[in-house]
């Protein structure tokens, strides 16, 4: 059993699907972090079998929208004075801007490059988003 020291003030990103942790780690730019970060892969989990965990010993601002898109089952625990003060369960965001890219060559975003790519959640069960302009569907798997 691997033991990692408690963090005083910071964030624990828990219940990351095993194998997805590196994506979250990279997206948060934690490889360049000037504070302590613990990255645990394949930790045992009662519900998930295996999971990845990231512990950040610093209070940083996280875009929960994008984190939800990477893995909507993630839990974010906010730690203050070594205690969990807030537990945030993520879900797929209703609207994402500048994250998913529309691949429809007939979409106006393909030629008008200044237009931000905006998607709206249309099917939460299957993680389907539709382009605001052309309605072309995109799966969150495309982002992951």
């Amino acid at each position: 059993m691997l033991n990692i020291a408690k963090i005083k003030n910071g964030i624990v990103i828990d219940h990351i699907k095993a194998g997805q942790g590196m994506r979250v780690f990279n997206w948060l730019g934690l490889d360049k972090a000037p504070y302590t970060v613990a990255f645990v892969v394949n930790a045992g989990s009662k519900h998930m079998g295996r999971k990845d965990i990231i512990k950040i010993d610093n209070e940083i601002a996280i875009d929960l929208t994008i984190l939800g898109l990477i893995d909507p089952n993630i839990t974010v625990n906010v730690i203050q004075d070594e205690r969990i003060t807030e537990k945030i369960r993520l879900r797929l965001p209703e609207r994402v801007e500048g994250v998913l890219v529309c691949k429809n060559p007939r979409c106006v975003t393909a030629t008008e490059k200044y237009v931000p790519h905006i998607f709206h959640l249309t099917d939460e069960t299957n993680g389907i988003y539709s382009c605001e302009y052309c309605d072309e569907p995109r799966n969150t798997e495309d982002f992951r």
Binding site: R106, E112, C131, Y133
Partner: protein, 311 residues
């Protein structure tokens, strides 16, 4: 709700207007049909810009005729070669500039979502006259007004769509439009290669509890229909020649098939028609597609007058 509520609004997709607002628009169109002369100066001194980044004869002429009959004037271009887009100008800049010269903009553009984008950069109403294979809301207004005028209602009808239902944007828009009214049943008649997309059947019809079924042969279902909406089946859409040969005649409306239809069924077509409706059908009183084209002009008159605050 007053007509004034439509003043200044955009029409990008059919559902931009509520059922109540559509009702007001159709009532106005019927008033114009009854006394067109009363509206000859409604848009006097107003200017309509018609920006056609893709060639269109029918829709453009229909809008221009509507504006001229309201006493207004039109300016614009009929093909992209003569627009500033050919010089590489962004759509946003084109729209911002044209909005300075006009009281409303009608635009057809091959890019899907172009009308929505244009509406975000325009101070004057933008009317979508077709954005690629996406939306064509004034065709839906035309279709609904025609059905209402000739059938007395657009509820409780069995409406058949025949032909290319996969790529036909007029079909998608009208199916969604009819789904807003109670008691309609839809029948989709097409080869399997050209079936109506799942996003229409699953996301719209099933969600709203609209009864629908799919069929492969027109002659087997035509007798059930109150309205038949024809579209063209193009050979190049088929995956193999054998299926095309087997099914092509099933999607051509002729007098033999009309004999199987109800006496009061109406036949609609967004036009242009090529060979999917035999010319011998034109003299059948149930053939309503040219009356439909005229309805298109009247509903566009009602739309322009409403959006420009002249109704």
């Amino acid at each position: 709700m007053s007509e004034g509520k439509l003043a200044g609004r955009h029409l990008v997709e059919p559902r931009d207007f509520s059922v109540g607002e559509m009702e007001i628009l159709f009532a106005l169109a019927e008033r114009i049909i009854a006394n067109p002369g009363d509206w000859k100066d409604a848009c006097r001194s107003k200017v309509l810009a018609t920006l056609f980044f893709e060639p269109s004869t029918r829709t453009r002429l229909s809008f221009e005729a509507a504006m001229l009959r309201l006493g207004g004037a039109c300016l614009g271009f009929a093909e992209p070669g003569s627009s500033s887009a050919a010089k590489g100008e962004s759509l946003a800049d084109t729209i911002r500039t044209v909005a300075c010269y006009s009281d409303a903009i009608v635009m057809r553009n091959p890019k899907e979502g172009a009308a929505l984008l244009a509406s975000r950069f325009s101070d004057v109403p933008v009317i979508n006259a077709g954005d690629g294979g996406h939306h064509h809301p004034t065709q839906t207004l035309t279709d609904l007004l025609t059905i209402r005028s000739l059938k007395g209602s657009y509820s409780g009808l069995t409406v058949g769509f025949c032909g290319d239902l996969k790529f036909g944007r007029t079909v998608h828009s009208l199916a969604k439009g009819l789904a807003r009214y109670p008691g309609n049943k839809l029948v989709f008649i097409s080869p399997k290669e050209l079936q109506v997309p799942e996003y229409i059947t699953h996301n719209v019809l099933a969600k709203e509890g609209i009864e629908y079924r799919e069929a492969e042969r027109l002659e087997r279902v035509i007798g059930d229909l109150d309205v038949l909406y024809m579209t063209r089946v193009q050979k190049e859409r088929f995956f193999n020649e054998e299926d095309y040969v087997r099914l092509k005649d099933s999607y051509i409306l002729d007098t033999a098939k009309m004999k199987l239809a109800k006496k009061d069924m109406i036949v609609l077509h967004p036009l242009p028609r090529v060979n999917e409706i035999h010319m011998e059908v034109d003299s059948d009183p149930r053939a309503a597609y040219f009356r439909q084209a005229k309805m298109g002009m009247y509903v566009r008159m009602a739309l322009l007058a409403s959006l420009m605050g002249a109704a």
